[in-house]
């Protein structure tokens, strides 16, 4: 089941928590595993320098989907999505020195996952302010 | 014995690294040892049917006995760092005189017969069958190496081509290709007691003559005792010191030092030779046999100290190997070495170099010297390779450089070193060491002396140096022959004790 450690008796592997929403990543999992940093970096430059604000490769969106249900973050605990892989691969990233590791603010929807708005409840349940049904409907349309 | 015509290299300002000229020294071969010589040594004198098997067997035998050989044959990465370090390459441009190429002559064969890739893909790893041509190359080029170890200083793994050369010569001996010069000498030293084949009585005559000369010269009755039971010091010196010029001047120097210091000493007719050509052939047993004569003499005469005269490879064998071979030294706890240690005086290093001895005496004020006696000379010092890179003097590493220089500077006022990269552990061989001091190899000797001559030439030009001191009998003999070829006076070379002899005050 999603989120449970894939640790078997044999070779150790990282815990990769299933994304909270959606069935599929913005690209094939295979590609994401190899090249997510390329997408992120490319998108980063476009956003910051040119002001292009598409959602597909936005870091905020990654976090929205991949934040752990337990910690609400992608990098707060050692089994959280980004961290578990990165400590396994010993690749340091400094993204979260600046970027919040938690979904926050306007949870924009993802083009591929329009129908998965139910996920909002999970986060909304933890949020300070309740999200009204109308509001949600407004966002999802 | 007319030596082949050849051009003496021209001396430039710097020692230049030449472009390679393949095969330029393939013709230089020393004479093969004839039957009687080989017989005495217990080697065949010609190739037998099964020479190849014999060679490979011997090689396997040596590989099992010498870690140096095994590691060196494996470890070389062909980095090329040593390629411009050998004086024979610098002087002859023959690429097979580059240390690594010299090793490769054997390494090719080693790879072919002893390593998996060489057995499977000989071309790939440069492995070659052992053929008569290879053997001839061995004979040529293992007798164009003076075993000076200069290459070993610069190799990142310390690969010492001398070790390969020695092994190569040993294998050559075993298939019947001994070198006449070395093997003859080895015969003489074992039969007669010294390399020159000077029998006991002749030696005594010579020494008496020298005593007379000294007295005539100085008015002091300095003695040159031989075979004196119970003397304190046994002096073992190269036999060339007894009558070759300029060697003999140093012998007079030693005598004066002992006299002035009041140390009783003796030579030995049984061990009237410090040199040990067994080293050159890489045969442990022969080297041991030759060295054992010293032990025997020491025991027989009951001396307390053993001092070695001015000879490079003799000092290497004495300093580095005597303890191993004969127990002259300390730290052994087997009956064999204890026997000797009981007799020797533990207050002195055993064996001791004559320079250590003289320098100590001067420093302690036990003998007096007047350096101005050498004011006509501007001196430089040639570090002999075996002293520089294979042994030590004094207590500190590098004492072999410091002590002779200290000694020279206490007996002579004008001293200048040659260029840094040509002295100390980087010293260039005189060109005649390692069993090459034969007229058959004159071309090799002259060309190989080029780097040293260049360095000398520079100090001559700059500081008007007119005397090159050294502490090796081979260097002295070689330079007296070679200096004139480069336009220098042959009397420019001499021993350190030649200077001492001039400066020492006798009473």
């Amino acid at each position: 089941d999603a989120g449970s450690p894939t640790k078997v008796a044999g070779a150790p592997k990282p815990v990769i928590t299933k994304a909270v929403k959606g069935e599929q990543c913005v690209e094939d999992t295979d590609i994401m595993r190899r090249d997510h940093m390329k997408f992120l970096n490319h998108h980063r430059d476009e956003t910051v320098v040119e002001g292009i604000r598409t959602k597909k490769y936005s870091l905020k969106e990654c976090i929205n989907c991949h934040a752990s249900e337990k910690t609400g973050s992608v990098a707060a605990a050692k089994d959280d999505f980004c961290v578990s892989c990165h400590s396994y691969a010993a690749v340091k990233i400094d993204c979260f020195e600046c970027h919040s590791t938690k979904p926050q603010g306007s949870v924009a929807q993802h083009a591929l996952n329009a129908e998965t708005a139910h996920y909002r409840h999970k986060l909304a349940a933890q949020a300070n302010s309740k999200v009204s049904a109308e509001e949600m409907a407004g966002i999802v349309q | 014995m007319a030596a082949a015509e050849f051009d003496v290299p021209e001396l430039k300002d710097d020692i230049e690294v030449p472009k390679i000229r393949e095969g330029s020294m393939a013709h230089a071969k020393s004479f093969l040892a004839p039957k009687p010589v080989q017989d005495f040594m217990g080697y065949p004198h010609e190739l037998s049917e099964d020479w190849k098997e014999r060679a490979i067997d011997k090689m396997g035998d040596l590989l099992g006995k010498y870690r140096s050989l095994k590691v060196f044959l494996d470890a070389c990465v062909h980095c090329g760092a040593c390629t411009d370090k050998c004086h024979y390459y610098l002087g002859t441009s023959d690429p097979k005189n580059m240390p690594v190429a010299r090793q490769d002559l054997m390494r090719q064969v080693y790879r072919r017969y002893f390593t998996t890739p060489g057995k499977l893909f000989p071309k790939l790893v440069g492995a070659k069958d052992l053929t008569k041509e290879t053997l001839d190359d061995w004979y040529s080029y293992y007798h164009q190496c003076s075993e000076c170890r200069r290459c070993s200083v610069f190799c990142p793994y310390g690969i010492d081509t001398a070790e390969i050369t020695m092994a190569g010569r040993e294998i050559l001996n075993h298939v019947g290709m001994g070198q006449k010069y070395s093997n003859e000498i080895l015969g003489k030293v074992q039969k007669i007691g010294n390399n020159l084949g000077l029998p006991g009585p002749a030696l005594e005559d010579t020494l008496e003559g020298l005593e007379e000369d000294i007295e005539a010269d100085t008015g002091v009755p300095v003695k040159l005792p031989i075979d004196v039971q119970g003397a304190e010091v046994l002096l073992v010196t190269p036999s060339a010191d007894f009558f070759s010029e300029p060697h003999v001047e140093s012998l007079i120097g030693y005598a004066k030092v002992f006299h002035a210091a009041g140390i009783s000493w003796t030579l030995s007719s049984h061990a009237s030779e410090a040199g040990n050509f067994g080293l050159f052939n890489g045969n442990y047993e022969t080297m041991r046999k030759v060295a054992m004569r010293i032990r025997d003499a020491a025991l027989e005469l009951g001396v307390k100290r053993i001092v070695v005269g001015e000879c490079g490879h003799a000092w290497r064998v004495a300093y580095s190997f005597w303890n191993t071979l004969t127990g002259i030294g300390y730290g052994g706890n087997d009956p064999f070495s204890i026997e000797l240690q009981k007799q020797l005086d533990p207050n002195y290093p055993q064996p001791q170099h004559i320079c250590e001895l003289t320098n100590d005496l001067i420093k302690q004020g036990k003998i007096a010297v007047d350096p101005s006696a050498n004011d006509d000379l501007v001196v430089t010092y040639h570090d002999s390779c075996n002293v520089a890179r294979a042994s030590r003097m004094g207590d500190e590493p590098g004492g072999q450089f410091a002590i002779p220089r200290e000694l020279i500077q206490s007996v002579a006022n004008n001293f200048h070193n040659m260029a840094e990269e040509t002295i100390y552990e980087s010293t260039f061989c005189c060109g005649g060491g390692g069993g090459l001091l034969t007229d058959d190899l004159m071309e090799v000797r002259v060309k190989g002396a080029m780097p040293r001559m260049t360095a000398l030439n520079n100090v001559v030009k700059e500081h008007q140096v007119n005397f090159m001191a050294t502490i090796c009998a081979i260097c002295k003999a070689q330079f007296t022959k070679v200096l004139p070829k480069y336009g220098f006076d042959m009397s420019m070379v001499g021993g350190v004790h030649q200077l001492v002899s001039k400066a020492i005050k006798l009473d």
């Binding site: 400094d94 | 710097d14 070193n417 260029a419 840094e420 700059e462």
Partner: protein, 400 residues
């Protein structure tokens, strides 16, 4: 032709290892300081949003300026073909490299994101003086490196003069660049001057030579080699000229500023009202770094080696003071956005900013100095940089 033998220092004595160890210790302190500042952020430093460049920059800029000056001796040898300086040239080149390395390390380690060095090396803004400096610095390493090579390897000796000249021109550009780093800061009143670049060049001559002299004397004294008076006297006269020139430039700089009314306030700050900065200016920069050394060098005292060294040390101290005044003084004086009006805000507008360097900053700076000396100490052991002897007789031969 007389030739000089260069020889590595023995470098096996206890003294040598103690020296190396001592310097190593300071390098270690520097590293720890960096680690501390990097881990906690600049919050643990004395720097803030008003004084943004602190003590590390003082050290770094001083070292960089001195680096280009240290090359001076070599330049005189090969560019101006003065044989006396030839044997002194290799040390000069290595010292230049070492000081530059020390300075750059301090500069780089003081970055807010020193972990992003790779960014600095792959992203360039060619309008920035800083970027140009990055190239000037790497070029300096390359050129001086090549120059040093031509001095050490006789196969390429013939190119020595070309390399030397290239290095010389480059280092003039480099110091101009370092000076312009400040000169281009239109916002800061103390910097708005074209004098800054030439002034930095002449300062570099003085600092570099002072350091060179101290290192030379130390190296010869500690390795037991002879260093004749001929060399010392020649170099000390040169130093006197440079120190005097620096003084001259400083005077002219402030006088021109005083000519323009708009600079009166800031000049008054430095020259009269600036507290620590005024003290550093008059006592540190002018008296200790200029007047006293000049007196020493030009009077009879200048014939004694110990006094020459004292003068060198003072020049160096004065130089650091000068950098402090130039770099930190200029920031301490508030930006004047609304001329004629008093400004107050939560952001300390209109106030004179105080700066108290923290211990890690100090040790980071010293770490740079230690690296420079460590590299030099090690280099003279492994490379043939120092003539075996520089006694008067040897030197005299060179002159002919």
């Amino acid at each position: 032709m007389a030739s000089i033998t260069f020889r590595e220092v023995e470098g096996s004595s206890l003294k040598y290892w103690l020296l190396l160890g001592g310097l190593g210790l300071f390098v270690l302190f520097g590293a720890l300081s960096w680690n501390y500042m990097h881990h906690h952020g600049h919050v643990v430093s004395g720097m803030d949003n008003q004084i943004v460049w602190g003590l590390p920059h003082v050290f770094a800029v001083f070292l960089i300026v001195a680096a280009s000056g240290a090359l001076n001796v070599a330049s005189i040898a090969s560019v101006f073909n003065k044989p006396l300086y030839k044997p002194l040239a290799p040390l000069s080149a290595i010292l230049a490299l070492a000081l530059m390395l020390g300075g750059l390390l301090v500069l780089v380690l003081d970055l807010g994101r020193s972990d992003r060095l790779i960014v600095a090396m792959t992203n360039f803004n060619f309008k920035s003086m800083f970027t140009w400096n990055v190239f000037l610095y790497s070029g300096f390493f390359a050129l001086v490196g090549v120059y040093l090579w031509t001095m050490l390897d006789r196969n390429v000796k013939t190119y020595s003069k070309t390399a030397g000249t290239a290095a010389f021109i480059w280092r003039l550009l480099l110091t101009t660049g370092t000076g312009s780093l400040f000169g281009f800061l239109v916002a800061r009143e103390l910097y708005g001057s074209a004098m800054l670049a030439p002034m930095f060049i002449i300062m570099s001559f003085a600092y570099g030579l002072a350091i060179y002299l101290m290192v030379l004397v130390a190296a010869y004294a500690w390795s037991g080699r002879t260093l004749g008076d001929a060399v010392m006297m020649r170099l000390k006269s040169l130093l006197a000229v440079f120190v005097a020139a620096v003084l001259y430039f400083v005077v002219v700089h402030h006088l021109t500023n005083l000519y323009f009314t708009k600079y009166h306030a800031v000049e008054a700050f430095i020259l009269r009202d600036g507290g620590i900065f005024t003290t550093l200016f008059w006592v540190g920069q002018i008296v200790i770094g200029g007047v006293v050394p000049l007196v020493i060098l030009l009077s009879g005292l200048g014939r004694q080696r110990a006094w020459i060294l004292v003068a060198c040390a003072l020049v160096i101290l004065g130089g650091v003071a000068q950098m402090y005044v130039t770099i930190i003084g200029a920031q301490a004086y508030p930006l004047d956005m609304f001329p004629g009006l008093d400004e107050t805000s939560s952001f300390f507008d209109g106030e004179i900013h105080a700066y108290a360097p923290s211990v890690p900053e100090f040790f980071l700076g010293l770490g740079g100095v230690a690296i420079a000396l460590l590299v030099t100490t090690f280099a003279v052991k492994v490379l043939r940089l120092l003539p075996a002897s520089l006694d008067d007789a040897t030197v005299a031969k060179l002159e002919h």
